[in-house]
């Protein structure tokens, strides 16, 4: 189920180089919580969220806020630096080995014809779907969401309207990282395993899915992830699995050329 995987990541949608590490730290926090609480999944998700939220605040303090007047390239380099630091620290902190994540449903499944669907899969999808809805509501209905959208469209105008831009960016980034943490925990549950270096490839997928679906659009990111999964599966089925990622990148470039704002994207979104 490459599809589910991509959706989880697609929802996150931040273009930085630390996001993979955020996912990893979230996943490991969730993992240790799960061990300590003897399988309390809700608590693990919450802990993953909280840890990554905090990490998001740190990222903001180190990589974004000091360079707000400098532009995105400097911030980008800062995220590269932080990413290297966090990744190597993760290996020291969590050990270099892959860790086994217990399955809360003991690998039970139900069959739909020939297809087996594990309860874990259902659970992961349910959580993702719920989060999507919740996020959509937050973004469209609450004051915070509106501030976030205003800031993402035009920082200067938002500041003129009396919004606390810094705060909005901070919270937005923390929220996105928090979600990254949850997705890390969910991915761990989905595959029963987590690894301190799994971040890079996951962040790459998230990145692709996000571009694919459209920057700054939640539905777009989800659909982007979904379509990316389908395309990848097609590529494996039609060609060889070796060419899967090539196809994914070719599609990415094609989408960018044809419609840079992505499938569901709107213009006027400033990347954070």
């Amino acid at each position: 189920m490459a599809i589910g995987y991509s959706i989880i990541l697609g929802v996150v949608g931040l273009v930085t180089f630390v996001h993979g590490e955020v996912i990893v730290y979230g996943a490991f926090t969730g993992f240790y919580t799960l061990l300590l609480s003897r399988g309390n999944v809700a608590l693990a998700l919450l802990a993953g969220f909280a840890a990554s939220w905090i990490l998001g605040v740190v990222v903001n303090k180190i990589c974004y806020q000091p360079f707000q007047q400098r532009g995105r390239e400097v911030a980008l380099i800062a995220t590269i630096g932080l990413s290297i630091t966090l990744r190597s620290s993760a290996q020291v902190l969590f050990g270099t080995q892959q860790k086994f994540m217990p399955d809360m449903f003991q690998n039970r499944f139900f069959a739909l014809g020939d297809i087996r669907i594990a309860y874990t899969q259902v659970f992961v999808f349910a959580v993702v779907f719920g989060l999507c809805l919740l996020l959509q509501r937050i973004i469209t209905k609450t004051y915070f969401g509106m501030a976030l959208r205003a800031v993402s469209m035009n920082k200067k105008a938002a500041a003129l309207l009396g919004l606390d831009v810094n705060r909005a960016i901070l919270l937005g980034n923390a929220l996105a990282c928090g979600l990254g943490g949850i997705s890390g925990v969910l991915l761990g549950m989905y595959y029963n395993a987590i690894h301190p270096l799994m971040g890079a490839s996951m962040a790459m997928k998230a990145f692709t899915a996000t571009v694919f679906g459209g920057l700054g659009s939640i539905t777009g990111a989800a659909i982007g992830g979904f379509l990316l999964g389908i395309f990848e599966n097609f590529a494996v089925a039609m060609l060889s699995s070796g060419y899967r990622d090539i196809v994914a990148f070719l599609i990415l470039i094609a989408v960018l050329i044809a419609k840079p704002s992505g499938i569901m994207g709107r213009r006027g979104v400033e990347l954070s």
């Binding site: 189920m1 490459a2 995987y5 190597s88 290996q91 050990g95 270099t96 080995q97 892959q98 086994f100 690998n107 499944f109 069959a111 087996r116 594990a118 991915l187 595959y191 029963n192 395993a193 690894h195 270096l197 799994m198 890079a200 490839s201 996951m202 990848e232 599966n233 494996v236 089925a237 060889s240 699995s241 070796g242 899967r244 990622d245």
Partner: protein, 354 residues
């Protein structure tokens, strides 16, 4: 030689994607060195291990090679982990005449690439036919097999040698599909292979990816006989794979339940230091250190003499079994067939004593 210690270089991936394996090297080599030192060292001198982190990046491995090679106090080098990194350092070690003994490089081109290049894990030239003939044909009795392999140098060679040997033994290879390092989701690939309906599936992967593959196979509800090269042979494989890896067949020449007291001593000590069970790689790294110590004991403190002594090694009894170098510097290994039963590795057949 004025120095009071013997310096041995260790080039290993302490950071990066293979950090786990690099760590194993470090623990094992250090243990071997300390053991030798505790028994009085070699010719009155203690061994000192100089560790350099290569990330198993060929470029960095070459830099390390340069650093070790030009330092006259470094008598021999153990490393690197991957065949590509080992090959990258090879020309430099060769030029300076320093032994590079890789515990894990299994690429058939590695050891023959130079006089000073040695590998002890046994190449796929030997393991491929063993897997095909003894495991696939005789033990499992299958007539067709699919292959999923990791797309790096090791995976490719492993796939090629196994596929060739399988065909020679009358086993049809229905399909071979690669996956990239760090991959987490194998469903699409597995579905594709499943459509060709093989009786068995050969999983050429490290234990971590291997366990994921097994789990996803079970989740798909695909009943297929699973076999894998020795790379999956570790406790972590069972810990990670759980029920899904039940019945997976592989081979090894190093087993945790080997009654040999030296093996048990190594395992206990390794557990104490690393907090986990040693795997084949660690054992090979341990033997590599022991081999070099043995060669120095016979040859003295000269790089060229060490090389010659090493090449003459015959019937060295290591914790991974008996080691005799072929003329090119490889070792032809004999294997045990191992199967996961009730969450334990069980020895099914043992060819190492033949």
């Amino acid at each position: 030689m004025a120095a009071s210690t013997i310096k041995i270089g260790l080039s290993a991936p302490i950071t990066g994607n293979y950090a786990e394996f690099g760590e194993n090297f470090q623990y094992a080599v250090q243990m071997a060195a300390e053991k030798i030192n505790a028994m009085g060292g070699i010719r009155g001198k203690n061994i000192e291990v100089i560790v350099m982190d290569s990330k198993s990046d060929p470029k960095e491995a070459a830099i390390i090679a340069q650093r070790f090679a030009q330092d006259p106090e470094i008598l021999a080098v153990i490393g690197d982990f991957t065949s590509t990194a080992s090959l990258a350092g090879a020309p430099i070690y060769e030029r300076y005449g320093v032994v590079q003994l890789s515990p894990t490089a299994s690429h058939p081109e590695f050891a023959p690439s130079g006089k000073y290049m040695f590998g002890i894990v046994g190449t796929q030239d030997a393991e491929g036919p063993f897997n095909a003939k003894y495991i696939a044909k005789e033990y499992l009795g299958i007539n067709s097999v699919g292959i999923i392999y990791i797309n790096n140098d090791w995976g490719n060679v492993t796939k090629d040698r196994f596929a060739k040997a399988a065909e020679e033994n009358g086993i049809k290879v229905t399909m071979a599909q690669p996956f990239l390092e760090g991959e987490r989701d194998f469903n699409a690939i597995l579905t594709k292979i499943r459509q060709t309906n093989p009786e068995g599936l050969f999983i050429a992967a490290m234990y971590n990816e291997g366990s994921l593959i097994c789990q996803q196979i079970r989740k798909m509800g695909w009943e297929v006989k699973l076999l894998a090269p020795s790379s999956v042979f570790s406790d972590s494989f069972i810990k990670l794979g759980g029920e899904a890896v039940e019945g997976v067949v592989t081979n090894t020449f190093f087993a945790l339940n080997d009654p040999d007291p030296r093996v048990q001593e190594f395992i206990q000590e390794f557990r104490k230091r690393a907090g986990r069970d040693p795997n084949l790689h660690a054992a090979c790294a341990y033997d590599a250190m022991m081999l070099i110590a043995e060669a120095i004991k016979r040859a003295g403190f000269d790089r060229k003499a060490i090389r010659d002594a090493l090449a003459e090694t015959k019937g060295f009894q290591g914790i991974t079994g008996s080691i005799t170098f072929t003329p090119v510097g490889d070792v032809v290994r004999k294997y045990k067939i191992m199967v996961v039963e009730n969450g334990q590795w069980v020895i099914k057949r043992d060819y190492t004593r033949d």
